[in-house]
């Protein structure tokens, strides 16, 4: 466990040859969770090379859709008829600690209808997701630790409410590598890196920085404006090819002088990959390459473009894609959910359908989550314009899963009659993480990284796999 498998110079060189000739990455294939190194320092081999999971997993890719701010479960997918009756009346038990002062119960302003073979009640503001509700595995009994954005955003994205732990995407890319060597293995699609948690939401912390998410803003349609150093307007491809040939020859001469230098040989190869990346990346990020009809299915706007890009990336073998949407924090007025739902409902539904049409849904796990839910009681505290909103709720909220490894048509767990606290089968964020890793064939207790003398995990010292969610 102290050091990664150390290849002799000869086999390393052979492995590199395979690397050079395309995607014969098998020579590098290691097993997930086998650390590349004990402590930071030089990493031998290609850190992005695909690795075998601990056991065969159903999912090979993840798309994590993060609705930041707090999606209200009782206004979306956890209908509580009793709230209509108790509207304006006090909660019959002591209100748990939330962020702001709260008042009486408030019913949902939205109407609900039954959808799918299980008759799942869905809110009118999610009409498109409602139509494919059978594809989803709905967890209605999520819990988290701290009713504030910063800590809980970090908890959902990194498994810890404090700054300084690697994000889930970093762990997965570290554990499994990635299939396409011409693209980063972990890509984040968001308007920008702003918002609570900042870049820690997709940071690698103490994992090697190659495993951090690469942020590609979805606000721009032109990929050349999105990715750093992707193109060089000063030379044409032929000229650059000549440059690379020169570089390869000069490096080769130097390697011969030094007799052996595997680090250098790996560098030579990654230059070649960089050259190919310049062709592949602009192509895959350019949603304008999709048909008019496909783009219409996803709808307008940055988030829709992000969802469509997510499918294109997964199709190309990118391991982990995170699509971040903001603005769900509706303390003053829950009517805000109507506008936000309008932005995300169609793209999310289109993504799930599109993945299915492309045969990708079976091995792509889609997670739709917020850092927490919202209270059934009205939010009173703070400088509010009106009192028609809901406060943060870590005691019971809803997360949706679809695709790779998640059991479709499942409704798991339940909140109490008011939708405030979990009444059945609580699922902590750690449990969700453990379960998602399991779907990928990763044992969350074995996916470790030794940092400063301790083996760290995404799930810290917690996490139970929720078997009922598994397909």
């Amino acid at each position: 466990m102290k050091h990664g498998p150390s290849l002799s110079p000869l086999t390393r060189r052979e492995a590199l040859k395979q690397f050079a000739t395309g995607f014969g990455m098998t020579a590098f294939a290691a097993v997930a969770g086998q650390p590349l190194l004990a402590a930071p320092g030089p990493i031998s081999g290609n850190p992005w090379a695909p690795k075998q999971p601990h056991f065969p997993g159903k999912a090979k890719h993840v798309i994590l859709i993060f609705l930041q701010g707090g999606l209200s479960q009782i206004d979306s997918f956890d209908y509580k008829p009793l709230l209509d009756k108790y509207d304006g009346k006090p909660l019959p038990y002591e209100t748990p600690r939330t962020e702001f002062a709260t008042g009486n119960l408030m019913k949902s302003p939205f109407s609900f209808q039954k959808y799918g073979s299980n008759g799942v009640e869905c809110s009118e503001i999610f009409p498109n997701m409602a139509k494919i509700i059978d594809e989803f595995c709905i967890v209605r009994s999520m819990i988290s630790d701290i009713p504030n954005h910063g800590p809980s955003v970090l908890m959902m994205n990194t498994g810890s409410s404090r700054v300084g732990r690697p994000s889930m995407g970093s762990w997965v890319t570290y554990g499994l590598g990635t299939e396409n060597q011409n693209l980063p293995g972990y890509i984040v699609l968001a308007a920008n890196s702003g918002g609570d948690g900042g870049s820690n939401r997709f940071g690698a912390a103490f994992l090697p920085p190659v495993y951090q998410g690469t942020l590609v803003p979805f606000t721009q349609a032109d990929p050349k404006k999105q990715i750093q150093y992707l193109a060089n307007p000063r030379v044409n491809p032929g000229q650059q090819r000549e440059q690379l040939d020169l570089l390869r020859d000069l490096n080769q001469m130097y390697v011969e002088q030094l007799e052996t230098a595997p680090e250098l040989e790996a560098t030579i190869q990654s230059m070649e990959v960089a050259f190919r990346m310049q062709t592949e990346a602009p192509e895959v990020f350019d949603t304008r390459k999709e048909s008019e009809a496909t783009r219409a299915k996803y709808g307008e706007g940055g988030f829709a473009r992000g969802c469509l890009t997510a499918r294109r990336l997964v199709e190309k073998g990118v391991r982990f894609v995170q699509v971040i949407d903001g603005g769900w924090d509706h303390h003053a007025d829950i009517m805000g959910h109507k506008f936000k739902a309008h932005e995300v409902d169609q793209p999310i539904a289109a993504l799930v359908r599109d993945l299915k049409d492309h045969g990708l849904l079976d091995d792509t796990l889609v997670v739709v989550a917020s850092e927490f839910g919202r209270t059934p009681v009205i939010n009173l505290g703070g400088f509010r314009s009106v009192h028609n909103g809901r406060d943060h709720n870590i005691y019971g909220f809803t997360v949706l899963l679809a695709g790779g490894g998640a059991k479709p048509g499942t409704i798991y767990g339940a909140t109490d009659d008011f939708g405030f606290k979990v009444a059945e089968k609580p699922v902590h964020v750690h449990d969700l993480h453990a379960t998602c890793l399991h779907m990928l064939g990763l044992n969350h207790e074995r996916l470790t990284y030794r940092y400063s003398g301790r083996d760290f995990r995404l799930t810290d010292v917690e996490g139970n796999i929720v078997k009922d969610l598994l397909a």
Binding site: S8, A101, G198, V210, L246, A261, L264, M335, V386
Partner: protein, 948 residues
């Protein structure tokens, strides 16, 4: 299994006589000591891998991998497999030396012949088991290597005494000879001066410096080079950066309205504008070779040092002062403070002591003898030391700055308030005209084909923009309020009678008339509520960067319930009068809402004049605003207070109060922290750290690591149980002792290390050595090392003659073309620059012990496509002089480039390849000129960014 049967039989006979006497005696004399000394640390209460080895039952039950022993069958026993170290994945003792052969033989015999006999233990009373959780430091924990006093070991004898130039060499060679390894040949002089230059200054040598060294045949030629480099001001820039990784150094992101960690709120000024003064202090300390003990003390307690040292040392407090301070709308006071303390304890203990004390935040440390009380005792020190800005200006300057800021703020408030009055006055005027606008919209909607909106507005004498907005609003569906339902119904029926339409429009006008005063009343009531709020006098006022003293406001805000408007009438307000910046609503301008310029057309001459004069006043006052006075970010003594244990790390669930102090295992006390008495205890803390041998061990190991590529201890910030053991324990002790002996001089330590034969080895490979020690942990060769990102960028600037060598100052944006200063001066935001992280710059939110070195294609994109590479290639071409004509001139330029970049002549093959490229490039014109294309590649080679 591996053990040959014959020797086993022999062995069994040999020890039988002894064992037959008394199995208990054999166990106590030969087995238990082996277990206690090698296994107990991890396999008793800590139960690593689920295994305990302190009873027969536990061994039979085993751990995660299965039973540890199979009585009678040593070859099937995992314990034997582990200590034989034949299985790559199961080598015990973890991180320690392999057991001696006779110890392994004893263990085998004990399992086979004695069926793992274990003497009956004295029954423990139940009560003892119950109190077992009480924190105690077990003797074997206290005896752990890194807690022992410094001892200077004798320099070992070696066979190849001629190779060993210094005591360091004899320690290294002794280990190599133990394994029959031969050090490879020494590096050539060119490689050596290049390595030394990068090591000490982060920059390559100039061709002239190389020439001088090559032609200097005196025995101390290299020592002269080392001394010259140590005296260079670039030395401090290089070595400060190493420390800044440990110190999790970060600048603000340069935006006064934002916080470095969490988004902030209501900040008056950029509280992180002076972070760089700490960075510059570290550089200066390195350049002046400030003794390391003083370097430590300054960072922990500069404000408490004797008066004569204080002023020069104060910037050092930035170690804590620039750290994360958690603020913001949704911060929970108690947790934020606990997290701030945790950050400080983490950086302090990992950085100065190589211990992971923050593992004891929620419970006693699982592996090291550090209790939660030890953690809490340190926490109390920081609870008693608040954030403080030490002004570097005199009181008058500070006073003038503050007074002027007040004036500017007041004038801005007045202007804003008047603007708001005018906006509402205009809204009220326009409210009166609502029926006219609505009826005109009705007319347009009912006309077929549709009328031109501008023409209708002109005909009806309406403002065209306002009219357009009404048209859009009234024809849209989905309004949040019900007040236009009647109107919509009428329009749906074809518009109805004129009189009915007018009546509905007037009703809506009257609603809007009510909305404005209602909103005003609510605003006024809420302002009074905030003004009259009396904070709890028992609650501490917390000072944070950027004048954030109103922290408690956020707390009361969360519980304060303000007056609000009727929800439906509020919707009218945001639709018609003024949109509000709230997450709940789609951002848009209300119908009567205008940008300042747009509002002017509705104002009277008098109103305009007043607005202009208020605006002019703000501008004039702002212009007179002096630049912000400089200050240092640090800590200051607050009221001394102890804090209470946070049960399971929860800051809301408190246990016993713990006096401020130092971890017991370090302080030499029994099980309780060593108490501190003076003020916060910070000065005592600083003294205690520098008195402890870990301080010297940890620092010499860091120095060693930056010279050789890895430390003698491979986990430089963890010298605890779960850290790696030193590969050369005696050498580490020797270096640490020398460090203290030589007055904690870092420069002397460099000199001692660099003048050794071990440092001066070449990178030559050796199959024979590699088969025994593939990772070169025993130092039989030098490691090929990639330039760190700072050295990479700095070298690109340096060899092309464009580096701005000025020292110090406020941070600049890394990617600005004009920024040619060294990378250590670039803005180090808490969300670091992409180019930095691309080349493994560490996360500045946490202390970093060592950088990883990764190799990914996106780094290739930097070399191929970045603006910096194109710029430096151009600069390099310019430096090569005029192009000239013919092959000879080209060859001369190629050679000049090789001298500047690699400090050597180009080989014939390299010249040929270069000429070939240039010729082909000339035939493919357009884009970058051929020489620039060539230069870019020379700046991208492995030879350029690896140090051999």
């Amino acid at each position: 299994m591996v053990a040959p049967k014959v020797s086993l039989v022999f062995l069994v006979c040999a020890i039988l006589a002894f064992a037959q006497g008394d199995p208990g005696q054999f166990f106590e004399a030969r087995i238990r000591p082996v277990l206690v000394n090698n296994c107990y640390a991890c396999h008793t209460d800590t139960k690593l891998g689920g295994l305990r080895v302190d009873s027969r039952i536990s061994l039979l039950a085993g751990g995660k991998s299965g039973p540890a022993i199979v009585p009678g069958h040593p070859d099937d026993s995992l314990m034997i497999k582990a200590v034989m170290q034949t299985d790559e994945k199961l080598k015990m003792p973890f991180g320690g030396n392999k057991l001696k052969d006779n110890e392994i033989k004893d263990l085998r015999y004990w399992i086979q012949a004695m069926a793992a006999f274990w003497p009956a233990e004295q029954a423990k009373p139940e009560a003892a088991a119950a109190t077992a959780k009480q924190f105690t430091i077990r003797p074997e924990q206290r005896n752990f290597w890194s807690f022992q006093p410094l001892r200077k070991p004798p320099v070992p004898n070696v066979k190849n005494a001629g190779w060993a130039q210094t005591p360091i060499d004899r320690f290294v060679l002794a280990k190599l000879e133990e394994k029959n390894l031969q050090p490879v040949k020494p590096a050539d002089k060119r490689a050596l001066i290049r390595r030394a230059s990068f090591d000490l200054t982060g920059l390559p040598p100039t061709p002239e410096q190389v020439d001088a060294f090559l032609s200097d045949n005196s025995p101390d030629a290299f020592a002269k080079v080392v001394d010259r480099l140590l005296a260079s001001p670039h030395y401090g820039e290089r070595w400060a950066r190493h420390w800044l990784d440990v110190a999790r150094y970060a600048d603000g992101d340069g935006r006064p309205d934002r916080r470095p960690v969490f988004l902030g709120y209501g900040m008056a000024r950029d509280g992180y504008a002076n972070t760089w003064r700490y960075r510059d202090w570290v550089i200066q300390a390195m350049n002046e070779d400030l003794p390391y003990d003083q370097f430590v003390k300054a960072q922990v307690a500069a404000d408490l040092l004797p008066e004569k040292d204080r002023a020069a040392m104060l910037p050092a407090l930035g170690f804590f002062g620039i750290g994360p301070w958690f603020t913001g709308d949704d911060t929970v006071f108690v947790e934020a403070r606990a997290n701030e303390r945790d950050d400080k304890i983490d950086a302090l203990t990992k950085g100065f002591l190589g211990l992971t004390v923050t593992c004891a935040r929620c419970h006693d440390h699982k592996y090291d003898p550090i209790s939660q009380k030890d953690y809490t005792a340190l926490g109390g020190i920081f609870a008693s030391s608040g954030y403080w800005e030490y002004s570097l200006a005199n009181e008058k300057e500070v006073g003038a700055y503050q007074a002027q800021r007040q004036k500017v703020k007041a004038s801005e408030d007045t202007l804003k308030e008047y603007g708001q009055d005018l906006a509402l006055r205009v809204a009220e005027t326009l409210t009166g005209q609502i029926p006219e606008y609505m009826l005109a919209v009705r007319k347009v909607v009912l006309t077929d084909p549709k009328a031109d909106l501008k023409k209708v507005a002109a005909d009806e004498k309406l403002d065209p923009e306002v009219f357009q907005r009404w048209h859009k609003y009234l024809t849209a569906t989905d309004k949040l309020h019900p007040f236009l339902k009647g109107w919509d119904a009428l329009m749906a029926k074809g518009g109805g009678a004129d009189a009915d339409a007018r009546k509905l429009a007037e009703e809506f006008r009257d609603i809007v008339y009510r909305v404005v005063p209602e909103k005003k009343a609510v605003l006024k009531a809420n302002q009074e509520m905030v003004r009259d709020y009396k904070p709890d006098p028992n609650e501490a006022t917390v000072i944070l960067p950027g004048d954030l003293m109103q922290f408690e406001l956020f707390q009361f805000k969360q519980q304060m319930v303000q007056k609000v408007m009727d929800t439906n009438r509020f919707y009218v307000w945001i639709d018609v009068v003024q949109g509000e910046d709230d997450q709940s609503y789609v951002k848009k301008d209300a119908i009567f809402q205008f940008k300042p310029q747009g509002l002017l057309r509705f104002l009277t001459a008098e109103e305009k004049a007043k607005l202009d004069s208020l605006d002019a006043e703000v501008k004039a006052l702002t212009k007179q605003m002096p630049p912000e006075y400089p200050y240092l970010m640090g800590l200051k003594e607050d009221r001394p207070q102890n804090i209470k244990l946070n049960i399971r790390g929860n800051a809301h669930v408190l246990g016993e109060e713990v006096p401020r102090g130092f971890p017991a295992v370090l302080g030499g006390t029994g099980g309780e922290p060593l108490p501190f008495q003076k003020g916060s205890g910070r000065l005592e803390l600083a003294d205690a750290i520098t008195r402890h041998p870990l301080a010297a061990r940890v620092m010499v190991n860091r120095i060693w690591m930056h010279h050789f590529g890895h430390g003698l201890v491979a986990t430089p910030s963890n010298f605890g149980m779960m850290g790696e053991r030193p590969t050369h324990p005696e050498l580490l002790e020797y270096l640490a002792s020398r460090f203290a002996e030589q007055g904690w001089s870092i420069k002397k330590m460099h000199r001692e290390i660099m003048l050794s034969s071990a440092y001066q080895l070449s990178v030559q490979q050796s199959e024979a050595n590699a088969s025994v020690d593939p990772d070169n942990r025993l130092l039989w060769r030098a490691n090929l090392q990639r330039l760190e990102v700072e050295s990479l960028r700095d070298s690109l600037l340096f060899v092309t003659g464009t580096l701005d060598e000025r020292l110090g100052g406020p941070p600049n944006n890394l990617n600005r073309a004009e920024n040619k200063k060294r990378t250590v001066y670039a803005r180090a935001a808490r969300t670091p620059d992409n180019t930095l992280t691309l080349f493994d710059y560490p996360d500045p939110n946490i202390t970093s012990e060592q950088r990883t070195v990764t190799n990914v294609p996106t780094q290739g994109l930097f070399f191929l496509n970045s603006d910096l590479m194109a710029r430096q290639a151009e600069a390099l071409v310019a430096r090569l002089g005029p192009e000239g004509e013919g092959e000879e001139a080209a060859t001369a330029r190629i050679n000049r480039a090789y001298r500047l970049l690699y400090e050597r002549q180009a080989t014939a093959a390299e010249v040929r390849r270069g000429l070939q490229f240039l010729k082909a490039a000339a035939a493919d014109p357009g884009g970058m000129p051929p020489w620039q294309r060539y230069a870019q590649i020379l700046l991208s080679t492995g030879e350029f960014f690896y140090i051999n």
